[in-house]
């Protein structure tokens, strides 16, 4: 009996050991990094005080969470007060016109994160919806490829930040409506993100499509598949790995560009948070900016993991090593 328990526990360990190993090594790396940071940071003194170490940064993070909770409570209280006030008004005079105002408190750190995530997803989605079809057509037709290649090559190296002023002007000129569905700043940021997402996706899709094996193309020709069936059954599955390479490249760039664009244009989002803290210049600012830096990094990493999971789900070749 005891033997059985023994063997069970060893098999349990067998399964656990590699996991512990893969966990400990990165953990050691992180701990060493934190150690160096903790020791080195106080030695650098800026006009805003000493550079905060990991513990101070963590405290700032807790502070930001508290601030967020507080803001939510304030908002709830505001709405409640308004409701009560309106109800009283209506009691006195059923025909009174009641005003319902939205809460206009300062956006918290977490509001800004949400805004940034929303903006980057919107820009990325629009870009993908444009770039993948164009990439497929360019990959299928040498003529189309030759026609758009110079344009891609010229626009690709341009930092989308250079486009930002132009986009801002165009958006404020064209996007006029009395009850806009999205804020102008959101549209501007999303379009800037879109511009930088277009090129890597387009190029990689085109290359993936152009390199479909001749054998499979011959199969399609012999069957005389319709254009649509050819694209759906043969072109897309073979180009999926390259399309995803493009998408992940795009997403990485988009996340970086978005933060910069928000800083530059003072559009809501994490970039604005960083910029505002920098302008505030309180003793907490450096710590809060560092919280933002870490959050930006972690989110970027998680977003890429998300794309990878999606790629694994969509890809037909499950044995393929994806990283």
């Amino acid at each position: 009996m005891s033997e059985r328990i023994d063997s069970a526990s060893t098999t349990g360990m067998d399964w656990l050991l590699p996991k512990i190993k893969t966990m400990t090594v990165p953990l050691i790396g992180i701990l060493i990094f934190l150690g160096i940071w903790q020791m080195g940071a106080p030695k650098i003194v800026t006009s805003l005080g000493a550079v905060p170490g990991p513990t101070q940064v963590f405290q700032q993070f807790v502070g930001l969470v508290d601030e967020h909770k507080e803001a939510r409570e304030k908002e709830a209280a505001f709405i409640k007060r308004q409701e009560v006030r309106n109800a009283k008004k209506l009691e006195k005079d059923p025909n009174a016109v009641v005003k319902i105002r939205a809460y206009t408190g300062k956006a918290t750190f977490f509001d800004q994160i949400w805004t940034s995530l929303l903006t980057v997803s919107a820009g990325f989605l629009i870009a993908s919806l444009i770039a993948i079809p164009i990439g497929i057509i360019a990959g299928l037709s040498q003529t189309v490829y030759t026609a758009i290649n110079p344009l891609i090559q010229v626009f690709k190296p341009v930092s989308p930040l250079a486009w930002l002023p132009i986009i801002t002007m165009i958006v404020s000129a064209v996007y006029v409506s009395d009850s806009p569905m999205f804020e102008k700043s959101f549209v501007t940021s999303a379009l800037t993100v879109m511009l930088c997402c277009l090129w890597p996706t387009m190029i990689n899709t085109a290359v993936g499509v152009a390199n479909i094996s001749q054998d499979l193309q011959n199969v399609s020709k012999v069957l005389r598949l319709s254009w649509w069936t050819h694209v759906v059954k043969i072109v897309l599955p073979s180009a999926v790995p390259m399309i995803f390479t493009g998408l992940r490249l795009s997403f990485g760039i988009a996340w970086m560009v978005l933060i910069a664009a928000e800083m530059l244009a003072q559009n809501p989002g994490l970039g604005k948070f960083v910029w505002d803290e920098f302008q505030n210049g309180s003793s907490n600012s450096l710590g809060r900016i560092m919280v933002a830096v870490i959050v930006i990094g972690v989110l970027g990493y998680l977003l890429d993991r998300g794309m990878l999971t999606l790629q694994k789900y969509v890809s037909w070749d499950k044995s393929q090593a994806l990283r």
Partner: protein, 305 residues
């Protein structure tokens, strides 16, 4: 054999563009094939067999001359001329069933109901004994199984002409024999015209009504056509002793190795000689090895000293 002209290749020549100007791979290939005939093409590697097949399939366009199938010129690929490719060419993201389904849907859309199509796909997969692994994807089955699915896909299209490019090339002898038998059976039942490329003389003699022997490239063409007058159904064991079989086999071998031999000296008839040369080679190798050893010993000695 019907004398009606079914598939006619007339003066087909093809030039491939190369950096050093056009390369004439085929020169004035002429061939008439009757309906239901089984023709093998045999020739040395690189002579242009696949090119002939690709022209008939419509995947290549002849520079001069052309192909006429039932009175109509062929200038594009089409499902009435199904191809079994040299390397199976299955879509790796589809199961065996789905690979066949793609072809069946294309050919029988509107002619067969969904249930009929399903039955037809399963029937064709069972013809090549692949019904047990229908739902496996190409990377989950062996090379021979992939080739069988490729054949099922082509058969399921009920083509007028079945084009086979070394269909059994990469298979072991047992699977190969089995598939040859099934191919003969299927062709007897369906009566379609078959053009098959092969490197295997026995396979060519066993399966074909005629063997087309091609000369070496560049500017390869039909060198000789051999009629095989063996009764069908053919049994590989019983047949191998008959004088007709031996005559045909010899004719092909003498064409390939005596008259159009590629500097590779390989005379299968003179078995003793090859054995001798093999022995010689072996002794040479042993001697070389021995002298090598002596060298190494010398080296070690000098180094030690």
């Amino acid at each position: 054999m019907s004398t009606k002209e079914h598939l006619v290749i007339t003066q087909a020549s093809i030039d491939f563009p190369t950096p050093n100007g056009p390369y004439r791979a085929l020169d004035k290939v002429n061939l008439k094939i009757a309906k239901g005939e089984f023709v093998s093409i045999i020739g040395h590697s690189g002579c242009g067999k696949s090119t002939v097949l690709n022209i008939v399939a419509g995947l290549y366009q002849a520079t001069e001359g052309g192909i006429i199938l039932d009175g109509k010129e062929v200038n594009e690929p089409g499902p009435e001329r199904a191809v079994v490719f040299q390397n199976h060419s299955l879509l790796p993201w589809m199961s065996a069933y789905e690979n066949v389904e793609l072809a069946v849907k294309r050919v029988f859309k509107g002619k067969k109901s969904k249930a009929e199509m399903k039955e037809w796909i399963e029937h064709n997969l069972s013809l090549v004994h692949m019904d047990h692994a229908m739902d496996k994807r190409p990377d989950e089955i062996s090379g021979g199984m992939k080739q069988r699915v490729g054949i099922a896909r082509a058969l399921a299209m009920e083509p007028q002409v079945l084009l086979l490019d070394e269909p059994f090339g990469a298979l072991d002898a047992l699977t190969r024999a089995h598939l040859q038998d099934s191919l003969m059976e299927i062709q007897k039942d369906l009566g379609n015209t078959v053009i098959m490329i092969t490197h295997d003389v026995d396979e060519a003699v066993l399966l074909s009504d005629r063997i087309v022997m091609m000369t070496n490239g560049p500017a390869a063409t039909v060198g000789e056509i051999l009629d095989i007058n063996l009764p069908r159904p053919r049994d590989r064991v019983a047949m191998s002793e008959t004088p007709e079989y031996i005559r045909c086999r010899k004719a092909v071998l003498s064409f390939l190795y005596e008259r159009h031999g590629k500097k590779i000296e390989e005379e299968p008839e003179v078995v003793e000689e090859t054995v001798e040369t093999a022995e010689e080679a072996a002794t040479e190798a042993v001697e070389a090895e021995a002298s090598n050893l002596v060298d190494i010993k010398k080296k070690v000695k000098t180094e030690a000293a």
